[in-house]
């Protein structure tokens, strides 16, 4: 319970919150990385409500920022469903790809992993280690191979083996590197020659600040993003940036990563998340 909880208990039963109480609320909202825009909306809503309704008004505002789109994975009617995992460096793409694959296996689906991060040292090994732990086959190429060609091979394998899901891990890329963003577009186009790409999930680190919004915007320009995976939510960061992204771009958070184990991964629960923000 952070500053926000204190704010609520303070204004409960009083007619008006004082100026310093509002300041505290602003601090709390900003500290959750909601960003100045969403924070201002929340404060306006809370101010216009009566003190005893302020909490509900705040929660309503946050809830209305959520995307209305479905949070379930889209499944191909026939053939393998391709899920592409993208994001900037160090957000936890490889771990998320492995955890997602594990959760799909847990639903009795047949899953194939592909290591299309051919750039970072030992990224392929990292995914292979996960593959061994989870007993999932990992398709990979040589180091520094063309990620599009690895992905293409993986798609062919997936369709030949008749698996249900193909989860492709891509290299981390900063969104202001145009050539790398173009490469991502190519990866997707090449896979689509074999199988339709149903899901492109952007991995967002919960500790990310307002830059997360730019990340999502720019990635969405290169590949149509279908959802977010919010990682490292087990830390002290509350991941408010994900809500800012949902609001601004209408991209739903589909999964949350909450720890280092394969099982620390779950479908996104909006209510729990909003409570966590407060």
């Amino acid at each position: 319970m952070g500053l926000f909880g204190k704010f609520i208990s303070k204004i409960k039963g009083t007619a008006h919150a004082s100026e310093s109480d509002w300041d505290e609320l602003e601090v709390a909202l900003l500290a959750a990385d909601l960003g100045p825009r969403l924070a201002a909306q929340v404060i306006t809503a809370a101010k216009s409500a009566k003190a005893e309704n302020a909490e509900a008004a705040i929660i309503d505002t946050l809830r209305s920022a959520l995307s209305k789109k479905s949070r379930a994975l889209v499944k191909s009617e026939s053939g393998a469903t391709v899920i592409l995992i993208v994001g900037v460096n160090g957000t936890g793409k490889t771990t998320s790809a492995a955890k997602l694959a594990a959760s799909l296996v847990g639903e009795d689906a047949r899953v194939l992993l592909a290591a299309a991060d051919t750039f970072r040292a030992a990224a392929v090994d990292q995914l292979q280690t996960w593959g061994e732990r989870l007993d999932i086959d990992v398709i990979h190429g040589l180091p520094n191979a063309d990620p599009a060609s690895v992905s293409f091979d993986a798609a062919q394998q997936a369709s030949a083996r008749g698996v249900d899901y193909l989860v492709i891990d891509t290299a981390g890329r900063l969104h202001n590197k145009n050539d790398l963003m173009a490469e991502l577009g190519k990866v997707r186009r090449v896979i689509e020659k074999v199988l339709p790409v149903q899901e492109v999930l952007l991995v967002v680190d919960a500790t990310t600040g307002q830059n997360g919004l730019t990340q999502a915007q720019v990635f969405a320009e290169s590949v149509p993003l279908t959802g977010l995976i919010l990682t490292k939510i087990d830390g002290s960061a509350r991941g408010g940036i994900a809500l800012a992204i949902e609001q601004a771009l209408d991209i739903p958070i589909k999964f949350m990563g909450t720890g280092e184990l394969a099982s620390d991964f779950a479908p996104f629960e909006p209510e729990i998340y909003i409570q966590g923000l407060l």
Binding site: A121, Q126, T208
Partner: protein, 480 residues
């Protein structure tokens, strides 16, 4: 880096400049905008408030003593610049070396901050200065962190002490301890210990970090943090400071477009200097962090100091001296000199990175990022396909020579023509500079650069210079 903050502040300062006389309420108006810009840049609210207070007090104090006109805006600008520099940590500190080698550097930070990559960059940086670092793989947590460190170590030619395979196997404290003993036995004067990423709130892992610290007694503990981190930066930094403790900060992924507010907040709240900045995926994309330069960069004043330093590193002093005397004695700058400079410039790193350090680069961000680096190679190829006499005297280049050069370089005659033309313009500009024109302290290489580049660069440079009526452009227009 810090682009968005730069853009915002640029707008604020521009509007201040456009006024003749600045009233206290103008300052207030600018402060409101700066407040917002800093919040959007993820600077912690308490730091923002403090910064605004400093700028307000100093500006209002300075204003009455200033004459109207641009001086006033300039003075406010200076105050903001100073304030930013102070918050960024004042003067940078260098890494302390242990009196009794080896110097032990321990890296700590959140998962995904970039510790392992940074370990390699640090090792390379110190090895280049004549040290003999060794990397110790104490991140036994993340799958294949050990392998990653080995690959990184190999690519920079630094040995890696990795007795345990990692992936959850082995005792990181023991590895760290043995690593130090090994380094001593092998006479390495520096040890860089890579540790597992941990969350600020994870008590178990924090204990492990403390155990490693106590076991190896590091000379410096560096806290590695991602420039894209949000408001959690301060909490995380505090948790690490109270937990394992740290002596300095390293910012990574500064080549992104994060506004870098975390840098301001962490330096200010922990009172620990930011010592290094990592600016790209290549091992060489790494430098000492200079607060005053960073402040200038945030304000869109460019980073000429870094540029000059890199130029100094890349250019051979003898050839620079030769060029200078040539310049002074009134001799013409030839294509041979130009080729030499192109080669030195490619040693300085990527063109887009250099261009982004120039004042006003913020407004040309897109062009700079999309600069075609191979343009330099192509230009070099064209010059290298010329005979020495052609390089010395481009006037002898007739049609058939040009066809031969184009074939030799694998380019078109049109490209050869345009290079020769632009070179002529550059030569002309050099002559004008010598005759007391624009001696803005621009090294000749950079002046030549504008002329030597292919289309994209020419566009970039023209766009910038067209405002200032640079002689290069005038010369070019005269030619055309």
């Amino acid at each position: 880096m810090f682009d968005s903050l730069t853009t915002k502040l640029g707008g604020v300062l521009g509007s201040l400049r456009s006024r003749g006389k600045i009233s206290p309420s103008d300052v207030e108006g600018a402060l409101v905008e700066i407040h917002e810009a800093l919040l959007e840049a993820d600077v912690a609210l308490s730091v923002v408030t403090e910064f605004i207070e400093i700028v307000r007090a100093r500006s209002l104090e300075a204003l009455p003593n200033l004459q109207s006109g641009t001086n006033q805006a300039q003075a406010v600008f200076e105050i903001i610049n100073e304030g930013l520099t102070e918050i960024l940590g004042g003067n940078a500190r260098r890494v302390r070396f242990a009196k009794q080698p080896p110097t032990i550097i321990m890296l700590a930070g959140l998962q995904g901050a970039g510790k392992t990559t940074l370990a390699g960059k640090l090792a390379k940086y110190f090895a280049d200065q004549g040290n003999t670092p060794i990397l110790v793989a104490s991140d036994l947590q993340r799958p294949n962190a050990v392998t990653q460190l080995q690959v990184v170590g190999q690519s920079v030619g630094v040995p890696v002490f990795a007795p345990e395979p990692g992936n959850g196997v082995g005792d990181p404290v023991k590895v760290a301890k043995e690593g130090i003993a090994f380094a001593k036995a092998k006479q390495h004067n520096m040890v860089i210990v890579d540790t597992a990423g941990r969350l600020g709130v994870d008590a178990t892992l924090m204990k492990e970090a403390i155990a490693i610290r106590d076991a190896v007694n590091p000379t410096e503990i560096l806290f590695v943090v991602d420039a894209m981190i949000g408001q959690d930066a301060v909490r995380t930094a505090k948790a690490f400071l109270d937990g394992v403790g740290f002596d300095g900060v390293v910012l990574t992924k500064l080549d992104g477009d994060a506004r870098g507010g975390a840098a301001l907040s962490i330096a200010h709240m922990t009172q620990r200097p930011i010592m290094f900045a990592s600016t790209g995926e290549k091992i060489s994309d790494f430098d000492i962090f200079y607060p005053e330069r960073m402040a200038s960069r945030i304000l869109g004043m460019g980073d000429v100091a870094t540029l000059a330093e890199q130029a100094k590193k890349a250019f051979d002093p003898a050839s620079s001296a030769k060029l200078e005397s040539k310049f002074a004695s009134g001799e013409d700058f030839t294509l041979e000199d130009f080729l030499e400079q192109l080669q030195a410039m490619s040693k300085m790193g990527s063109m887009s990175k250099m261009l982004s350090m120039l004042p006003g680069a913020g407004s040309m961000k897109k062009q700079i990022e999309n600069f075609d680096e191979s343009e330099i190679t192509r230009t070099q190829a064209i010059v290298q396909s010329m005979t020495p006499s052609e390089r010395r005297d481009p006037k002898i280049l007739n049609g058939s020579r040009r066809i031969r050069i184009a074939n030799g370089a694998g380019r078109t005659v049109k490209e050869v023509n345009s290079l020769v033309e632009r070179f002529g313009a550059a030569q002309k500009m050099m002559r004008q500079m010598r005759n007391g024109g624009t001696a803005q302290g621009m090294p000749p290489a950079l002046a030549g650069m504008g002329a030597g580049m292919g289309r994209p660069a020419a566009k970039v440079i023209q766009k910038k210079k067209s405002k200032s009526g640079n002689p290069a452009k005038r010369a070019q227009e005269e030619l055309g």
